[in-house]
Subunit: 287 residues, 4 copies
């Protein structure tokens, strides 16, 4: 008798009885719900549900086959999307970074502390300067240099490296290159980016300089999924910190590091926990 | 055919199938779940559930009779407690206050803005100085003076006033008298208090003075249910704010007002929304 | 021998010896510095100084005449601006408001608590609905209706009312009309506005709707001085609060009220304390 | 002609003319004040001053000799304490740690980023498990094992190691041993500790367990100077973070890591910047 955990994400048009039907069916299959989080979008009537449960009778693989057959008839409604995640399978994350160490170091440290429900499969950088810092964590560090001339080739190498690492998710931990639309389509899996402003304010380059010039009293950081439109994808997490007239751009950069690290870690954690659903370029985050 | 809202709070020993049983039963009764929040206490295996639903077929009164009959057999387990709240019935709150206006003014203002799912039935004070401020809100203001000599009589008058106002909940909005154990037993319904420290630090009197003397870098506020042990009841909400060496006790008092107001309002709102369950002198708050 | 307080604000090009010269001169005049805050702008070499002192020998009026004669020769440098504020003179503030009560109520309450170093001389609204709420505070409430047709006449009436109230500062406490460039030039004294977003994000109308549509995870509020360019004046204070996918535009409006109130009060307080200097469309805030 | 920076910390009984005298004297010596922060304790009339200046004429060593001679006659008042810090001399910090990596990793990372005005001279632990993680930072890692039996000898070894490293400051970065009064007297220089609660709440051992048991809605962290009384020394920095009923003790431990790291870094930074003065078991922090 297998005892194991799984997460079920469901979205569809909201109709009475969804919870009763699915909870009843899971119960009959010998599943015990551990946590359940739901959301209804009041504007377009979509329903979103995350169920974390343990399967007391069936192995998850068998349960998955059963649900493949039963869910569409249980929820015969428009816009049905659902996916079962086996709790025993850990996502493989690849960190991409340029010269700045803080986000990479933070993610590697948290992984080392056991904070993430996933594994860091590798680090890829367009520079070599952080290799030594990454070494104690036992994660392969590969340099793929990028220049205007070799961009297409570099993205091809990147793609191959991601496939070789069997990556599920890419995290741009202050990676300073813009990924092309061609790359995004070829890769097709989630990419989480950290932008060092409170988006949509100060999109684009040098946001701390922009913030200083405008004279704002807070700086921010935004973790979002990457889409083809720069700095415009679904936002997963954001935070701000107070600044004052005393703070130079260098001070903002220093204070911002703490913010970037915290916001990115929160987003990566939620993503790996399968707590994030996207809908109309927004996210539902079941933290 | 009545269409109406209700909230169902359930707690019992956690067993597989609780959600399936109750959700299935509610569905059969024509109810549609709007939000559902649950919690399992990992230490003692208790399960807590708050369901907000609309009853599409039965009037709430009829539904209540049905659940009276069916819930105990649906959930035949130890420690079962459950209660149905009719969404059409608004709780009646009585504010108790002494000389300081800020918490009373904030609660009356929020009520006026329509923030609370409840009504403020009256204000009771042991002083008359705030009567004018309360006047525009159209809420009766009554003075019940308290002295060492008349304490028992004053508490009796208080009890009668609360009954006359048909009160469900008392909010101590910086009421500077300690209510006796006799009063608490006689009244028996919820009392929410705001204490101006981050409990358990600085319980008792003059917490801002205590905080200043210790040289802490934050001050706090705590909203809690009143129990017989002073400042030791279940905590509903807390927050802190940064202070510095520049702040005198008078500055702490000023900064603390904002904190007290925010924390008390949050607690009162959660309480009136039936989002708070208590267990082992702690709270589960389904915000 | 008069004993009284004053605040001296100085800005000029930074040169060695400024503090020694002015502190030495004030000492010879019998003044004792209580607090001193300074800032140098690293980019353009400007120096900003706020000195709060007590004059132990001279009455402030006499001291003012002395400084009129001596400061320009003490600090014979470019871009010198300075102003002495007599601590005995309290600024007169006029609150302008439309239909929403929260900012007006908060300012009137804080004034009633004695938090502001200034007096509220009156409230002006383009609607009558808040008159009752303002009444207990003993502040005159005047309605000046504004329509497309009468805008110029209304602004003329507003100007006359501000002069009749002998106002020093106007606070737009969710006043929903845009003041014309002509009005701003005619009035010429400070106007503090609260905008319900984290500017520069979501300038213009309906910022909570804009924030909801973009799917941000924080909402903000910004208090700034009004300039002719809408929502683009020097920022005095800002803050943000976390939101989630659960929050509708109505929830953002409710949560935003607390933020608007806190940010506006902080800005008004700093302004009345003469803690705010402006420079290149930014502020130095000596809190 | 030397051009260099220094920080002057002064405390004494508050008297009119302190700023004029010292600022005038520094000006005559060819010094230009960059920042100046002051504080008067309203209760006992003590005055605290931090001046950051550049010496445009004299080398700092020569200036120091001049001030040794002149300061006592400039400020001939009770309780005079003052100290000049040469900006060219960087403090040497030794990190002490047990098995938990997060605080050590954070301090080493920040040092690597160049955030601290000081150098990390070494790490000392009573366990070997973190040695690999510390290696890329190029800081010597030494194990000094501690047991009940060898405590006195271990503290003697510790003292010798600190002297060998020429340490100015010790940072207890989750070092799980209590240092004896004998050690504290022998060492006599500053020790900064991080305690994982909002002191004075939950002093002593297992504060996250204590916090969970009490049902608080925030957890905190406190950085303080170590004194002979456990967890009772002058507080340098504190912060809190919201928690909920969902959080187990393990969750508090995880969330608390971020808090400990942030609060400790802030305290270490302020200490190394000579921004912290202590007075009556409280701190003045000129951030």
């Amino acid at each position: 008798m297998a005892e194991s955990n799984a997460i079920l994400l469901i979205s569809c048009i909201d109709r009475p009885g969804i919870i009763a039907r699915v909870a009843g069916h899971l119960y009959q299959l010998g599943c015990n719900i551990i946590t359940s989080d739901q959301h209804s979008d009041a504007e377009d009537g979509h329903f979103f549900w995350r169920i974390h449960f343990e399967s007391l009778k069936l192995p998850i693989a068998e349960l998955a086959r059963e649900l493949d057959a039963s869910v569409p008839s249980l929820l015969p409604w428009e816009h049905l999307h659902w996916r079962l995640y086996d709790g025993a399978r850990r996502d493989r994350v690849v960190i991409m970074v340029s010269r700045l160490a803080h986000c990479m170091m933070d993610l590697l440290s948290r992984h080392w502390f056991g904070e993430f429900d996933g594994d860091i499969a590798g680090v890829i950088s367009n520079h070599r300067n952080l290799e030594t810092l990454a070494q104690p964590f036992g994660v392969p560090f590969q340099v793929i240099e990028v220049s205007k001339a070799n961009k297409a080739a570099a993205e091809q190498a990147l793609l191959e490296r991601l496939e070789a690492l069997n990556a599920d998710t890419v995290v741009l931990a202050r990676y300073m290159q813009v990924l092309s639309g061609d790359f995004l389509q070829a890769w097709s899996k989630p990419i989480v980016n950290i932008h060092h402003s409170f988006l949509p304010a100060f999109a684009g380059s040098r946001p701390y300089k922009q913030a200083h010039d405008r004279g704002v009293k807070l700086i921010g950081a935004t973790a979002h999924y990457v889409t083809e439109e720069l700095d415009a994808g679904p936002i997963i997490a954001q935070d701000t910190i107070a600044i004052s007239h005393r703070d130079t751009v260098a001070d903002l950069t220093r204070k911002g590091r703490d913010l970037e690290v915290a916001v990115l870690a929160r987003a990566v954690r939620a993503h790996l926990n399968k707590q994030v659903l996207t809908h109309n370029n927004r996210t539902i985050v079941f933290e």
